[in-house]
Symmetry: C2
Subunit: 223 residues, 2 copies
């Protein structure tokens, strides 16, 4: 499986927020819905995306940009398992993506798509600090990480309007209180939609799929 | 349980590497062995430390510095479960610790200790880029994160001479190849000591305890 790898250059824009707003506007005009996906390393971003894409691809034309410091295993895996357009972004040691870096990826993947997932670097801290220009930010928290994460990493929970709690198939094995975790997420962001899922078994994935369908069908009408 | 929380100030030193070397030398002269503990969020740093400290405290005078962006749950937990001296460091949004920040913590915890664990911010990227001045760097990788992490986060595996593979009690539940993971770690750092453990069940903790005993007994003789 051949997947193109882009080595990202450091952005030259001094004002990332301004750049991000411009990018978001441009995407809106082209009808491209860009989702910035954040999580800890190993929370299951790639498996969740594969599962989501396979369920959403009958309805939308989908692409994926996989950001990593090194390796291209994720982009190859997504391309193999979904057949969708996939690009690997190498951040050259950088711990996050900004709008300029995101735009470099978009230039490669093209804009004839309805929905693009941008898999950010696995990190709960820095990616939350940089606006990528995405239409929406989401995060994936996994059960083995513990239900105390919203206490320790406030900004990412505050910024994301969608949190998927992944690996709920492992709930019997870990000491994770879903209700307590939901409360802690809502404390950081009262508007957050929280969907517990298992990307491995497919449990509750329908609810996540429905969320994206609604968002995309309403995209034209959003502000 | 009362635990002191320090709000860290941004370091003023331009040359962190120089500052870190000076701190390491100072600790050596005082006979304090400082361990910088890094991992993803939720890999089990705090549980592992509690387990290690309870087994090492008959032999050494131990302290802990818990760095987090927010909350003091970890410092309180460690103090309650081990009785050892514990300080919470708030990084004020910063994603890593450097030597100047570490020194602010050390000024609080004091230097009449043999062994201090510094629990860094949960993040596989940025903490690896900053020398804290610690005597050694270690990392904890947990089974649910996946055996591909050494492919994706090269620097942290390269820097750490000790990697604990935690949550091996969950191996039957996850698709994690311990031997493949060891190979990938050794590819990043051929000198790495790798010890699979379960901080939850105590499995293999003796081997980790033995590692620290050896390091501390030889500390005077190290370069």
């Amino acid at each position: 499986m051949q997947v193109k790898t882009i080595l990202l250059k450091k952005s030259v824009f001094e004002n990332n927020d301004r750049q991000a707003d411009l990018l978001r506007e441009k995407l809106k005009q082209k009808g491209v819905f860009l989702v910035n996906v954040m999580s800890s390393p190993g929370a299951g971003k790639t498996t969740t995306l594969i599962n989501l894409i396979n369920r959403l691809s009958p309805f939308f034309k989908i692409g994926v940009m996989e950001a990593d410091i090194d390796s291209d295993v994720d982009a190859i895996k997504v391309a193999e398992k979904t057949g969708c357009k996939s690009v690997q972004l190498h951040t050259d040691g950088m711990c996050h993506l900004d709008a300029g870096m995101t735009e470099q990826g978009l230039n490669e993947i093209g804009d004839d798509l309805d929905l693009i997932f941008l898999e950010n670097v696995g990190n709960l801290v820095c990616p939350a600090e940089y606006d990528t220009g995405a239409t929406m930010d989401m995060m994936i928290l996994s059960v083995p990480e513990g239900d105390d994460k919203p206490l320790k990493y406030p900004l990412i929970f505050q910024k994301c309007n969608l949190t998927l709690i992944n690996k709920i198939d492992a709930l019997p094995y870990f000491n994770f209180d879903v209700e307590k975790c939901k409360e802690r997420i809502k404390f950081r962001n009262p508007n957050a939609t929280i969907i517990p899922i298992s990307a491995k078994t497919g449990e509750n994935m329908d609810e996540a799929v429905e969320y994206f369908k609604q968002r995309l069908f309403n995209y034209g009408g959003e502000n």
